[in-house]
Symmetry: C2
DNA sequence: CTGCATCCTTGGGGATACTG
DNA sequence: CAGTATCCCCAAGGATGCAG
């Protein structure tokens, strides 16, 4: 509890680099990352099939996203040398373990996003009469 | 299951605007949002105290983040007219409900982030000899 | 104390073309 | 098929100054 007489004793105790909230978000909050993970939920899937499943993703962004996920140890990449090559992606065990908290977030959205949309409409109605 | 003979039947079924993963992330994945929520976990807190708690946040970004959260119905703003004014922030019930899935993410980080860091080191060791 | 307005920089991400 | 390589643009976010 802070003193009611002064706030000058409050010291920084929350930082970007340390807070657990922020560190996961750095991993999963790029534009396409969550969608790519989502596309791999069912198991092994080929590069081209991910690309076809996700509406609007470019090859560049898909590759870039997959590389990051692979670097973070969340995704495994399997190449079958052939012409043309076959490259299959899947979640690692670490990646699978991330699925659980992510699903909790998704469920929160399913249950509460309409309230967020209502709040926005209401806020804008009040603040947008110029 | 996809046919083993063809992938041409795969249709886009994952989109940015619809996926539940993405929609929450739009709310909480700005640079400071998670930290600001974190700063309000303990209850009502004044603008200046949030600012002091979070290392490196500017007035502009704090205000902007708080406005977004207020617009989304996650944060409540209470003004006590005085000179100088007293402005207190707290999580709404909707905001509190978001805490649960966020804590799941934080816990995942506490338990698994070291593995991510190891994976990165290992990946970079293999891929950075030029 | 709690903001808003302005200017400026940075890098995430799009479009396009080329390759093993 | 599964990528690289470039070029380019825009919006998030930092710095600074003013205001109720």
């Amino acid at each position: 509890m802070n003193s009611p007489f002064s706030t000058k004793t409050v010291q920084p105790d929350i930082s970007l680099s340390i807070c657990g909230y922020t560190k996961v978000l750095e991993i999963i909050s790029n534009k396409w990352t969550a969608l790519v993970i989502y596309a791999m939920e069912d198991g092994i899937i080929r590069y081209g099939d991910i690309r076809r499943r996700i509406e609007g993703i470019s090859k560049k962004m898909l590759t870039q996203t997959l590389r990051q996920l692979e670097r973070d140890g969340l995704v495994k990449r399997d190449i079958t040398p052939a012409v043309p090559p076959i490259v299959e992606y899947s979640l690692t065990q670490l990646g699978e373990s991330l699925l659980e908290p992510m699903r909790a977030l998704k469920q929160w959205t399913n249950e509460n996003y309409s309230q967020v949309e209502q709040a926005r409409e209401s806020y804008d109605r009040v603040n947008n009469e110029e």
